[in-house]
């Protein structure tokens, strides 16, 4: 059983309450609709390739910035307008992990995508979405 930071745990618990797949999908779409693109004071197009998530067909980009108190603020961009799942995940990661410490964020394993989206994810989709979480880890580990 994975242990998640409090806000992320609340989100996962909410999603898990919906046993019907259609209800779960609607919750995820709500998150996708709340997705906020990286602000221009952090990054502008064209986004640097080093922030691009490889294997993510939705052209997702990740930034992780350290706040003055040592916590992390995550930012995302999803360039494919049809990347609804990627937008949902980015929105959940921002809401659930921004404001947490690096150690706390690194404790969240990439397989969280299966808890969020269910076990029926296709291999390609799984690779792209777990790649977003891996990219968050990568930037936090590198201290950038």
């Amino acid at each position: 059983m994975n242990v998640y930071p409090t806000k992320l745990k609340e989100i996962i618990n909410t999603i898990s309450m919906f046993k019907d797949q259609n209800d779960r999908i609607n919750v995820l779409i709500d998150y996708a609709e709340k997705y906020k693109e990286v602000p221009v004071n952090i990054a502008v197009r064209p986004y640097a390739n080093e922030h691009k998530v490889e294997y993510c067909e939705s052209e997702a980009y990740v930034w992780a910035k350290k706040n003055n108190d040592g916590t992390i603020k995550l930012y995302f961009a999803v360039e494919n307008p049809q990347g609804v799942s990627a937008k949902a995940l980015c929105s959940i990661l921002d809401e659930g992990l921004s404001g947490e410490t690096p150690e706390s964020i690194l404790s969240v394993k990439p397989d969280i995508v299966l808890e969020i989206f269910g076990q029926s994810l296709s291999m390609g989709k799984n690779l792209g979405l777990t790649g977003i979480v891996q990219m968050v880890h990568r930037f936090i580990k590198s201290g950038r």
Binding site: N22, I25, N26, L28, I29, A32, E33, E54, Y55, E57, S58, P81, Q82, G83, V84, S85, A88, S120, S122, M123, G124, K125, L127, G131, Q134, M135, R138
Partner: protein
């Protein structure tokens, strides 16, 4: 439709335009089917009246690496209100690649009354045509599927081996990086599910999306397509061709282009593709 005749396609009736579909959205003898890679897309908004056919949940067999069986196909058709004489019009994301994949599978069961909406979701949305989150409900239809015939448009690994030995044309529709066996992955990051990188010996690399105008997702004209497949790669209308990619989804798009838009008579899709060939014991690869 004159625009598709003007583009020079051999089987121009296999396409409908976004404008035509908007006018015929309530026709009783058609069923609009959306098929996407992203399972959240359809519920986030779709063409009014469209049903969803999901490639993993609906078209794949749950435990075998194969497509759904005949009784499951009949059930799928019945519950979506599709009878044997219903015209099924597919559209979807990623320039209709999943739509072409679904269309190809429908044809394995002999449902040949199928069309693609040119431009797919991208064009429909760019034109600000209506979307809805309402899931339609249709009266259960009568449907009797033919016995699945894999011989005409589907290739298996033994067919590919025979193809290689006879020097017949193969098309690898993946990206140049996948074709060459390069890996573009992060440390500790899994690759795409094959043990080896490269391509099937003798295959020509023609990425599937070259058939598409990227701005609106529509198919290129027949002349433009011929310049790619015939001008650059010396393929011919009468060639016996096998197309493949990673799992057969992108190559079904190329199969559609060659079969319908250019009128090639003998094109098969190898759905085992690189996830089978790249892991298969005792078969050669090239890099």
């Amino acid at each position: 439709m004159s625009e598709f005749i003007n583009r020079g396609y051999i089987h121009h009736n296999v396409l409908v335009s976004t404008d035509w579909l908007l006018e015929h959205i309530n026709d009783e003898n058609i069923r609009i089917v959306e098929s996407n890679e992203d399972a959240l897309l359809y519920p986030s908004g779709h063409i009014p009246g469209a049903v969803q056919v999901d490639w993993t949940a609906d078209l794949n067999h749950p435990v075998m690496r194969d497509y759904l069986f005949r009784d499951n196909f009949e059930e799928l058709m019945k519950r979506n209100g599709i009878s044997n004489d219903t015209t099924v019009i597919f559209y979807g994301d990623k320039n209709n690649w999943w739509a072409c994949y679904a269309l190809w599978i429908f044809q394995l069961y002999g449902h040949n009354n199928v069309k693609i909406m040119d431009g797919g979701r991208l064009k429909w949305i760019k034109e600000n045509k209506p979307l809805t989150k309402d899931i339609p409900s249709y009266e259960v239809a009568e449907y009797k599927a033919k016995i699945r015939d894999d011989s005409e448009i589907r290739a298996f690994r033994d067919d590919v081996l025979a193809h290689i030995s006879q020097g017949l044309p193969l098309i690898d529709v993946r990206s140049p990086e996948e074709f060459s066996g390069q890996r573009l992955h992060m440390p500790d990051y899994p690759n795409e599910g094959a043990l080896r990188g490269g391509h099937i010996p003798g295959a020509a690399n023609i990425p599937w999306a070259r058939a598409i105008n990227p701005d609106d997702g529509t198919f290129k004209t027949a002349e433009e397509l011929k310049a790619i497949y015939e001008g650059e790669k010396n393929l011919h209308k009468d060639d016996d061709i096998i197309a493949y990619c990673r799992i057969g989804e992108r190559s079904s798009h190329t199969w559609f282009v060659l079969t319908y838009l250019l009128g090639y008579d003998n094109v098969k899709n190898y759905d085992g593709s690189w996830t089978e060939w790249g892991n298969l014991v005792g078969v050669p690869i090239d890099k």
